[in-house]
């Protein structure tokens, strides 16, 4: 299988990319202390919006923007419910997923017979010619490079910028943040909208670039995997990247192994990522200090300035 290292890497990166977008977005949302379980619904609505925009305009980039906008709009519904009206986040997130499945299916009816022109991958000049890693890392859909830039931006924002510090403080202890004058609710709004927009872009990657077609429920559970991924990554952007490629890679490697004639016990192999996530969670949670360093302490807990 060594001669197939390059296609395996290429496929792994492509498979991981929708997860990278959705999970990095959800990570920012969760870092502000908001748990939005509606990722699957936001991805689907983003996917259908992106597909519709691309079909209408012919430009995949307008699709990406439409996907981000649609995902953001979904997140706005969630934010109004949970941040302004103080509805329970878990329940509202699940309702959002239900709603997104229905909405995307309904809107998408008109697009089921359309197939978009495939977008050619973009080879980065010079870098793509590097032996081995060049073709593996630098011949991809342009959105893949965007996802790497997004990773750098999120990492910088959270750990090197002042607004990022504020965001983390809000997730850590909204009461204290409020006390020193941080606008907790607006910050959470922005973080939630960002999460929705990125989930929408993840959906757009699927429907416009990865499998350029629209079919109902085409995300097939990737939104839920993105949720798992954020935990697996212990809320660290770098580990989100590793995790996304691991999750994507498990499937890809399994497929390549099957193609080589290896019979794979599919169910048990598919359990591994989830079991690994639990193990990771246990490892970081057992020490109160490591969890403090990573997990947003106020996750899913409502905050209202007047009660605080």
């Amino acid at each position: 299988m060594t001669d197939q290292l390059v296609p395996i890497l290429v496929a792994t990166i492509a498979a991981g990319t929708p997860l990278v977008f959705a999970a990095l977005g959800e990570l920012v949302t969760e870092k502000s202390g908001v748990l939005n379980l509606g990722v699957e619904g936001m991805m689907l609505v983003g996917a259908v919006a992106a597909f519709a925009a691309t079909a209408a305009s012919g430009s995949p980039w307008s699709g990406v923007l439409a996907g981000a906008a649609a995902g953001g709009a979904m997140a706005l519904v969630f934010a109004v419910l949970t941040l302004t009206l103080m509805a329970n986040q878990v329940a509202a997130g699940l309702a959002l997923s239900l709603f997104g499945v229905g909405l995307s299916a309904f809107v998408g009816k008109a697009y089921e017979s359309v197939s978009l022109a495939p977008s050619p991958p973009l080879a980065i000049p010079l870098a793509a010619d590097l032996p081995g890693i060049g073709p593996a890392l630098f011949v991809h859909q342009p959105l893949v490079y965007v996802s790497w830039a997004l990773f750098a931006a999120v990492a910088w924002f959270l750990y090197r910028s002042r607004p990022g510090l504020v965001l983390r403080a809000v997730g850590e202890s909204p009461q204290s943040a409020h006390a020193i004058g941080c606008p907790v609710i607006p910050i959470r709004y922005l973080a939630t909208l960002f999460g929705g927009a990125m989930a929408g872009v993840g959906g757009a990657f699927l429907s416009v670039f990865y499998t350029p077609l629209w079919v109902e429920n085409m995300t097939a559970g990737r939104g839920w995997i993105a949720l798992a991924l954020v935990v697996f990554a212990t809320w660290r952007p770098a580990r989100v990247m590793i995790g996304a490629y691991l999750f994507g890679g498990v499937t890809v490697v399994q497929f390549f192994a099957q193609g080589e004639g290896v019979a794979v016990p599919a169910q048990f192999l598919s359990m591994l990522p989830y079991l690994a996530t639990i193990v990771v969670l246990v490892l970081i949670s057992r020490n109160i200090n490591t969890i403090r360093l990573n997990a947003p302490v106020s996750l899913a807990k409502p905050f209202h300035p007047e009660v605080a």
């Binding site: 197939q4 496929a11 197939s115 499998t211 077609l213 079919v215 499937t251 497929f255 099957q258 599919a266």
Partner: protein, 359 residues
């Protein structure tokens, strides 16, 4: 007094006659239960095409109604029952998982006729129907066998049930009938529908040297992958050429219209019997989609010729000798595989690479 009775009897008879005439004129209500949204390609789409064709063929005599996206499980029985209870006198249940619910509802509604696709349980008012998809697979295998340059075809498959294995094996036999060096690689994605995974599996097969890919899953994702990677594809369920105009050599197509028309006509005529229909080319239940322009003339001729032989019943895709992977003879020379053996197929034939996942 007597006159009164006679009068009433006459009136009654007239009323009954009128009612009978009305019943004869009122169109037969026919219900369909679909396992997924109709969409634009795939399993349910073809059933819905069949429904529309039947409705057109029997215009004025039937009205149809469908319920889509009905999960196999507790909900199916309710939907089937609801159709039966709301005056549908014929109900088609179009997925394997509807088998037991169909049988249960049929017991409660002995006057309603049910037709269940791809199952194996019959009853006095339940007939079953299925198509010999493998016949179309065999033909598409011939096309693939002639068009491949690498002698490797890739097959994206859902679950190792007999229907899928029949398809893989028939495709392989078809390929090897024209190209003895041909081999087939199979990847199981353990899902009927997941465009992303279908795509990943197709990509993997192409990277491993397959220059023709086909699929037994519901979306056109594998065909799209082939189009993008500039290799060939063979579609399944529907003609998938619009999702891969250059890649799609042909597609193994399901055709339900004729069988729906026939069953419904029998019910209308009162001649319906709980039969077990398993039809192929001869009954017009499967076909191959128009061939790609890239397919040379002699291959097209061979396909047409083989199709004729299948229609005439002169050729059986599983004509002996059929050997499985281990070299064991499953069908001796001079015989064709019986339906009983086909229905429980659980092995790969010679020419399929890898091992079948054993549970």
């Amino acid at each position: 007094m007597k006159l009164g009775i006679v009068c009433r009897m006459l009136l009654g008879a007239a009323a009954a006659a009128l009612a009978g005439a009305a019943a004869a004129q009122a169109p037969l209500k026919v219900g369909f239960v679909y396992v997924s949204p109709i969409g634009d390609a795939g399993w349910t789409y073809q059933h819905d095409q069949g429904r529309q064709q039947m409705e057109k063929a029997l215009a004025g005599k039937v009205t149809t109604k469908y319920v889509e996206n009905v999960p196999e499980g507790a909900d199916a029985e309710r939907v089937i029952r609801e159709l039966a209870a709301s005056g549908h006198r014929l109900v088609y249940t179009t997925s394997f998982g509807y088998m037991n619910p169909t049988i249960k509802v049929a017991r409660q509604f002995p006057k309603v006729i049910f037709a269940h696709a791809t199952g194996y349980k019959k009853a006095a008012n339940v007939g079953i129907y299925n198509a010999r998809f493998y016949e179309a697979r065999y033909l598409t295998g011939i096309v693939a066998g002639r068009m491949t340059k690498s002698n490797v075809a890739g097959y994206v498959a859902a679950f190792p049930i007999p229907e899928v294995l029949q398809g893989i094996n028939a495709f392989t036999l078809g390929m090897r009938s024209v190209n003895p060096k041909a081999e087939v690689k199979v990847i199981w994605i353990n899902s009927w529908f997941d465009p992303g995974r279908e795509r990943e599996a197709a990509n993997a097969l192409i990277a491993q040297g397959a220059d023709v890919v086909t699929h037994h899953t519901d979306s056109p994702a594998a065909v799209q992958a082939a189009e993008e990677k500039k290799v060939y594809a063979v579609g399944y369920h529907s003609d998938m050429s619009k999702h891969g105009p250059n890649a799609t050599l042909t597609s193994a197509v399901h055709l339900w219209g004729d069988v729906y028309t026939r069953i419904t006509r029998d019910v209308l005529a009162g001649t319906w019997k709980p039969t077990d229909i398993w039809g192929g080319f001869r009954q017009g239940m499967v076909d191959v989609a128009p061939l790609n322009k890239a397919v040379p003339r002699d291959v097209a001729d061979l396909v047409a010729e083989t199709k004729q032989a299948l229609v005439a019943g002169k050729l059986h895709p599983f004509q002996g000798p059929v050997k499985d992977q281990s070299g064991k003879v499953r069908v001796p020379a001079g015989q064709a595989m019986g339906d009983d053996k086909l229905a429980v197929m659980d092995y790969y034939v010679e020419g399929v690479q890898g091992q079948l996942p054993k549970k």
